[in-house]
Amino acid sequence: MILSTRDLTVAFGPVRAVDGVDLDLGAGEILALVGESGCGKTTLARTLLGLEKPTAGTVSFEGRPLDYKRLKGYRRQVQLVLQDPLGALNPRHTVYDAVAEGLRIHRVPGDEQELVAQALSRAGLRPPERFFLRYPHELSGGQRQRVVIAGALVLEPRVLIADEPVSSLDASVRGEILSLLLRLRDELSLTVLVVTHDLGLAWNIADRVAVMYLGRIVECGPAADVLQSPEHPYTQALLSVVPDVGHTEQIVLSGEPPDPARIPSGCRFHPRCPVVMAECATTMLAVLSPDAGHHVACLRHR
């Protein structure tokens, strides 16, 4: 395993944003972490990057738990791609400087110009020299996101963590960026964790899908299984409201995800669950196994 978590908990005071997560990311795997806003998916991603320290549990890279006193080497291996490239790029840095910054911070040996050119060209900005002296405002949204991806690639990381990588991009451009992620996985056997609320995106590129609800993974497994035969009532509801004309009945859950400072007892989904039973309010559910099988945290699924 490249990256794994065991019993991971991240709390901010009374708020348990991540509340017991076991996750394994294999080499060259694309995993989509899906859920609604506030479910803890971004906190989980930040903790994987070493930007948050776990309150309990561990994050391990290549089998070794992270040493929070010495993260610099790890940060080179696990790179982040953010949602909004305009916000992620410094408006007064040229494309060249934006991509070279990581090389300078990590004092990477070699010909800087050549490494920057190679990263830009891998990210699909060709010929790279034409982009060196451009500023973010001179680029289109899709090109900006490619610059952000080039900035991550230049350090030759093993893992890319992409938080909603296409949600701020135009519809016709998103496919191109998603194709790029697929190609990078094939060419560089990069491991990619995509954090998203977009199930269509998961269907487009993910090998595996993990569905998160209130800090826990409630269903995970191969993308085709989870998305085509969802077992958890929450996954079923999420899939039923994806805008699509050929739909069967929509399951529109009332209300919004409850407060992570007051996680319900028993199954955390039971107050909103359309098929809830009496025992759901009291029976604790185990943390799902991180292996590649299809797993569901639901009492009805036994």
Binding site: E36, S37, S140, G141, G142, Q143, D170, A171, S172, V173, R174, G175, E176, I177, L178, S179, L182, H197, L199, G200, A202, W203, N204, I205, A224, L227, Q228, A237, L238, L239, V241, V242, P243, D244, V245, G246, H247, Q250, V252, L253, S254, E256
Partner: protein, 312 residues
């Protein structure tokens, strides 16, 4: 008589580089009880078109053509008449409810404002309570401030404001863009239910063809300021004809569609800058089926499609 009729509407923004055409001749109809969807990407002119309905554009915008609301041209209306039409006959729900609401005024006061201005109800508090209930919020929420509400609840408040003076027409500009899928489904259900129950007309603007396909009766797809395809919503969603509509439909794949698995659909290049629109068919530089003729001949909308390669 249609509720709303765009007749060859054009909008040019004045700039130092000369006029920039944002909308280049749009003709569309909206009937009562009908939802018209306008699809397109940023810069295609869809939000400019929405703002044109109530002449909410900045001063550097020059509008041409006619915009008939109940057979009266909004574009030539005097200011006093226009003010009475805004909210009362046609209202807009903007995207980004957090920015559109006043943070230091209770939501009850904000919903009451158009009612007081237009004097459409005697008992304002009762009307506010009724509106909140109509959009699925408890009447006691009137005392809340925007920051105390979730994103979905704020968008419901925006819809309650738009309904305040019982308009005949609602223009909703990306009303669900910042929302989660579950909340999006709730808001779309609410909007379409209102159109059905109150017999209003609605213009729904979105970049997501899936959202429009499930909620609208008809769809118009815009590219570079023009309508490139228009027709029944299901027809456009299931059998898009224009190559741009096809790409847009492919961008939001159906979960379970084997053709989309490991095969995201995109278009090379980017939408054109409105100040620099390609000659001939504006879409030709990105079009997978373009021929030489596409680079020079201007293309008319024939049978709902603006493409010389379709049906030829």
């Amino acid at each position: 008589m249609s509720l709303l009729e765009f007749r060859d509407v054009t909008v040019d923004y004045a700039s130092a580089e000369g006029p920039i055409p944002a909308v280049r001749g749009v003709t569309l109809l909206v009937e009562r009880g009908e939802v018209l969807g306008i699809a397109g990407e940023s810069g295609c002119g869809k939000s400019t078109l929405a703002a044109t309905v109530l002449r909410l554009l900045p001063e550097n915008a020059a509008i041409g053509g006619e915009m008939l609301l109940d057979d009266v041209d909004v574009l030539t209306m005097k200011w006093g008449k226009l003010r009475s039409v805004r909210w009362a006959e046609a209202a807009i729900v903007f995207q980004g409810a957090l920015h559109a609401l006043n943070p230091v005024q209770s939501i009850g006061d904000q919903i009451a404002e158009p009612i007081r201005l237009h004097k459409t109800a005697k008992d304002v508090d009762a009307r506010v309570a009724q509106l909140l209930m109509q959009v699925g919020l408890p009447a006691s929420r009137a005392k809340s401030y925007p920051h105390q509400l979730s994103g979905g609840q704020r968008q419901r408040v925006m819809i309650a404001m738009a309904l305040a003076c019982s308009p005949d027409l609602i223009v909703a500009d990306e009303p669900t863009t910042a929302l989660d899928v579950m909340v999006q489904a709730q808001v779309l259900d609410l909007l379409t239910g209102l159109v059905r129950d109150l017999g209003m007309g609605m213009v729904l603007i979105s970049h997501d063809l899936g959202v429009l396909g499930t909620t609208c009766d008809r769809i118009a797809v815009m590219y570079a300021g023009q309508v490139v395809e228009t027709g029944a919503a299901l027809e456009i969603f299931d059998h898009p004809k224009h190559p741009y509509t096809k790409a847009l439909a492919g961008a939001f794949p159906r979960v379970g569609d084997p053709a989309a698995r490991y095969a995201p659909v995109g278009l090379p290049g980017d939408p054109p800058y409105p100040g620099d629109i390609p000659a001939g068919c504006a879409f030709h530089p990105r079009c997978p089926i373009a021929v030489d003729e596409c680079t020079s001949a201007s293309v008319a909308l024939v049978d709902g499609v603006r493409c010389i390669r379709v049906g030829a």
